[in-house]
């Protein structure tokens, strides 16, 4: 299969955003290099160096006629140089290895003006599956995915996570080391493991999105935008697997959530909850696209957890005013989701929906079994939801205590400030 790349039609266009072009090409080039070379860690280093050379040279020299071929050949030449010095070192140590290296090195075309390369569409998929392998810890998977598939530089990833570049470089090299040690192959998963591997990929993309979404607060505006990066990668995955309902679901969920971004925080980064947001600030275009995606996916009859979450987000986004929200439908969707996922966070959200449909007591009743759920022990969300429902039930003293307990436990500053303000509002309500 040959993938149509935007670079095929825009070569030489000086106004082209070189950064975007490089990020689009990165996984294609890395896929081709890794397939040829065999060692992912070395291939990744070489491609990263080629990307950096391009970022330095192209703005001055112009984009080459065949940018993908250029990157490929520059990366291969680095590998060849590396192999030559490796060969010299090993000459007496391992005759067989020398043979193999020589074969690879000498068969590698090194002329940057040469023709285009074979781009296997499956390469990008195989890269994603490899970077999101369940044997990797989530932080490792996230950083590797951003670099190998997203084409971000180490500096950009470090900037996104607010850590020094040297720290991030070390994290990436450890992640690559664990790929080597765990012998994770650069290939597509077998049919038997595909479902599990796919859900790992979706989870990593979801985590990247959330990392960006929850950190998009005032002072940190200049962070590398992880939400946009997650959406871009999920769009890429959707283009590769257009018939996968959960990929559609995840993409729709991201778009429908991201649509509220401008309304979600105030001037000082303070959190504005859904029911208090200025809905005029919501991005109509993203909402329309998200709703179209989720409707198309659900009409095909497949139902997955991401599709259900997207459907819930769509119901919220469709309400022009908070009073217009179709809570019975949201309650029903959370019921389906709860049966599918067995996640206490889902039960928390279902309790809120139940309170909106049947009144706060029904919601509070639904929270009771969660007190014994070890997965929620010490988590601020249970206190926060209970506080909210107690407030609605008019039990202000108990609500204040729960708001304060939740504020003690959350690790998010905007969340903490929001909860403190809720408690303060109840303490100072008129009349006392």
């Amino acid at each position: 299969m040959t993938l149509e790349s935007p670079s095929d039609v825009t070569s030489g266009d000086a106004t082209m955003d070189i950064g975007h072009l490089l990020r689009d090409l990165a996984p294609q080039v890395l896929g081709a290099v890794a397939r040829r070379h065999g060692d992912f860690a070395d291939a990744e280093d070489a491609v990263q160096e080629a990307l950096m050379s391009a970022a330095q040279q192209w703005p001055a020299d112009g984009i080459p006629g065949n940018p993908r071929g250029w990157l490929y050949h520059v990366a291969m030449r680095r590998l060849t140089d590396q192999l030559r010095s490796e060969m010299a070192r090993r000459r007496r140590e391992d005759a067989v290895a020398v043979e193999r290296f020589a074969e690879q090195a000498l068969s590698a075309p090194t002329d940057p003006s040469g023709g285009d390369i074979d781009v296997e569409q499956d390469d990008t998929l195989a890269l994603l599956f490899m970077c999101c392998h369940p044997a990797l810890t989530p932080p490792s998977a996230i950083t590797l995915t951003l670099r190998a598939v997203g084409g971000l530089t180490t500096a950009e990833i470090a900037n996104a996570f607010l850590v020094p570049e040297a720290t991030m470089a070390q994290r990436i090299s450890r992640a690559k080391q664990s790929i080597k040690v765990s012998k994770i192959p650069f290939s597509l998963p077998t049919d038997a493991e595909r479902a599990e591997r796919m859900s790992a990929v979706l989870h990593v993309l979801y985590l990247i999105f959330n990392e960006g979404y929850t950190s998009s607060i005032g002072a940190e505006l200049h962070r590398t935008d992880l939400s946009n990066e997650a959406i871009r990668l999920t769009r890429l995955l959707h283009a590769l697997l257009p018939n996968d309902g959960e990929v559609v679901g995840l993409l729709a969920l991201m778009l429908l959530t991201d649509a509220r971004r401008a309304a979600r925080t105030g001037a000082n980064g303070e959190l504005i909850p859904l029911d208090e947001q200025d809905r005029a600030l919501w991005d109509r275009q993203l909402i329309d696209e998200g709703i179209a995606l989720v409707e198309a996916a659900l009409s095909k009859g497949s139902v997955g957890a991401y599709q259900l979450q997207a459907a819930i987000a769509a119901v919220h986004d469709e309400a022009a005013h908070v009073e217009d929200t179709d809570w019975p439908q949201i309650l029903a969707l959370y019921g389906l989701l709860e049966r599918m996922t067995d996640n206490p966070m889902v039960t928390l959200n279902r309790a809120i929906a139940a309170a909106m449909v049947y009144g706060p007591d029904a919601g509070l009743e639904m929270l009771k079994p969660l007190d014994d759920d070890a997965r929620l022990r010490g988590h601020y969300r249970l206190d926060a939801v209970r506080a909210h429902l107690l407030e609605r039930a008019g039990e202000h003293e108990r609500a204040i205590a729960r708001y304060r307990a939740a504020a003690e436990r959350t690790t998010s500053i905007p969340e903490r400030d929001y909860l403190i303000a809720k408690a303060a509002r109840l303490v100072h309500r008129e009349p006392r």
């Binding site: 040297a166 470089a169 070390q170 005032g218 002072a219 000082n268 980064g269 303070e270 204040i400 708001y403 304060r404 504020a407 003690e408 436990r409 690790t411 500053i413 400030d417 403190i420 303000a421 408690a423 303060a424 509002r425 303490v427 100072h428």
Partner: protein
């Protein structure tokens, strides 16, 4: 020159419990702190600024004797102050660090009255850069 500005909040007195302030006072306090942060970012002086979780979540850890298991403990209840947050700023002079600390110290509390938060200012020593890894 880098300085660490440590904001020490006295423990347990009402005036220091933002949850008991009026919403207006709390908002004014947060806006003041955000404005200060924006100013430090704009001037290129902010290296880092972080707020810490409440001391109720804190643990004190000491390695056990002879490599034994670590002994952990809550923060001692008798301590009168706790570290609520800190800044590291990169400034031209010690005076500038004091000026920033004074500004943070004067953040408004209940009724808009300056809290006069004690801010400990310590110079950060320079170390040779760690070898590239």
């Amino acid at each position: 020159m880098r300085y660490m500005l440590m904001m020490n909040a006295p423990r347990g007195t009402g005036e220091w419990q933002p949850a008991s302030w009026s919403p207006e006072d709390f908002t004014a306090h947060m806006e003041y702190m955000h404005a200060l942060n924006r100013e430090l970012i704009a001037s290129g002086e902010r290296v880092i600024a972080e707020g810490l979780a409440s001391p109720g979540q804190a643990k004190l850890v000491r390695a056990g004797k002879n490599g034994g298991p670590p002994v952990t403990d809550g923060v001692f209840p008798e301590s009168k102050e706790f570290l609520a947050g800190f800044w590291i700023v990169d400034v031209e002079s010690a005076e500038r660090a004091y000026e920033i600390a004074a500004k943070a110290s004067a953040a408004p509390g209940p009724g808009g009255k300056p809290l006069i938060i004690p801010i400990e200012v310590r110079q950060v020593l320079n170390a040779p850069a760690p070898a590239d890894v």
